[in-house]
């Protein structure tokens, strides 16, 4: 069903004896398989990590969207979900993990602390004011903590972004 919804006017369906075939670009086929099987590197440090666990558990299951394997190692994951506050002592670790991921890689900043420092923006001497000062971020999910529905909406937006990726004809790496 997801496959049929992803068809746009560039793809053509032919009826042939025995069934039907779909004619489309190679980018469309690769993008649709990449966006529906993302493996996450769950970098949960604080309270947002609990909401992320709830998104993966019974009521709001994220396996229906293809995120079946929470791969804990950066060498085999596609998406890095930063859930929690980042402080100065942890910043080199974040950068090192990002550089260990293989391309194509995506980053989601979950929660106010990862977007801009959150409730610790003032009067704290160790906070990093937003994780986009260290690594490039694709999707921002606001909230303190964001509800599981917000996180799932963020993943759906990331899937839409991946569908527009034109890596064979230039554009993003």
């Amino acid at each position: 069903m997801g496959l049929m919804n992803g068809l746009d006017k560039d793809n053509i369906i032919y009826k042939i004896p025995g069934g039907q075939i779909i004619l489309g670009t190679a980018e469309w086929a690769i993008n649709i398989s990449r966006s529906n099987s993302l493996w996450t590197l769950t970098f949960g440090t604080a309270c947002c990590a609990i909401e992320m666990m709830h998104t993966g558990a019974t009521k709001f299951d994220w396996a229906r969207f293809g995120l079946e394997v929470p791969a804990a190692s950066p060498r085999r994951s596609d998406v890095m979900v930063i859930a929690g506050t980042i402080v100065e002592k942890m910043a080199p670790t974040v950068r090192m993990l990002y550089e260990q991921m293989a391309e194509p890689r995506y980053v989601m900043a979950m929660g106010s602390c990862a977007i801009s420092g959150g409730p610790y923006l003032y009067d704290s001497y160790t906070i990093v004011k937003g994780v986009d000062k260290i690594i490039p971020v694709d999707i921002y999910i606001p909230g303190c903590p964001p509800r599981p529905e917000s996180l799932l909406y963020g993943f759906m937006q990331l899937q839409k972004k991946i569908m527009q990726d034109k890596f064979l004809t230039g554009g993003r790496k």
């Binding site: 990590a49 402080v87 409730p119």
Partner: protein, 375 residues
Amino acid sequence: METKMPIEIQSRDSDEYILNMGPQHPSTHGVLRLMLKMDGEVVKDVVPYLGYMHRGMEKMFENKKYEQIIPYTDRTDYLSVIPNNWVYCMAVEKLMGIQVPERAQYLRVIMAEINRIMSHLLWYASFGMDVGALTPIWYAFKEREELMSLMESASGARFLHNYFRFGGFKADIPKGFIDGVKKLLARIDDDVDEYEALLINNVILTNRTKGVAPISREKAIEYGLSGPSIRGSNTAIDVRKDEPYGVYPKFNFEIPVGKNGDTWDRCKVRMDEMRQSAAIIRQAIDALPAGDVMAKIPKIIKPAPGEVYTRVEGPRGDIGLYLVSDGTEKPYRIKMRKPSFSNISAIKELIVGYKVADVVAILGSLDVIIPEIDR
């Protein structure tokens, strides 16, 4: 500033090596870094590194007004939200001489015990995941989701409730809350029996945890342990019985203890605590009086100059708050005494001599939350 590494390998010919369980690890419950000196699979020495979540909260509180600090107290330990709010509100109420009305006191007890059940359920899920059992997560989270909907109807937020205020609550509980609690009480005993039979009495877990890392009563008191970590060693210490607060003296409950002080006993104590919490909630619901839920407090919160130290029993142990006030709108000094800080300082005593697969089980049985150590 160059600091010497505190772990060294004695000689080049031995089989020893240093293993780093880094800050990003699926089983260390947050950002804890352990440097293990190993000989084959046996651990010889351990040095923990902390500070990967240090946000400087105690310095931050000196520039905020008293009522602006309440949301920050839930974010130190995000699983025992209600006891953290309670210990702070109790400290300010003691300095200002505010009396909380009776109905609010009963409601505070009900919320605290529901929170204890939620925290122990999350411990159950993550402990199972650490030792390799992937089924308890689904059971525990299903239960937790229903409790979260209940608390959301009362406080407005799923789990960082920010619910208590100085003098009681801002608004009374909504209409369907008591029915929701009664539905929970009707099934909680059978559910806890099922969860215990699934993981704690499982033969694989008993073989992995019985006899592993025992600690005696004297050593535990010296290291400052509290909560289920010390109750596993046949020591009945609980703030609700030693120094009762609120309306706890009116309830009839026991303190579960373990016999040997090893990892399995610490796990069993937590399952029994869930049953005792259900007993307390049952008694509180039956005796809930009518009345208003908020005392009369002045518009500007300015406690009298002085110091106070209050204690509360959280799911992890004994939470304390030391407040020094100088008569202005902002506190002079706040010191938070958190149970995981003392619980994890005993780690060298517990881990040395066991295998690396036991390290994860022992850390899981201590139930530490790293952001509350670093504050």
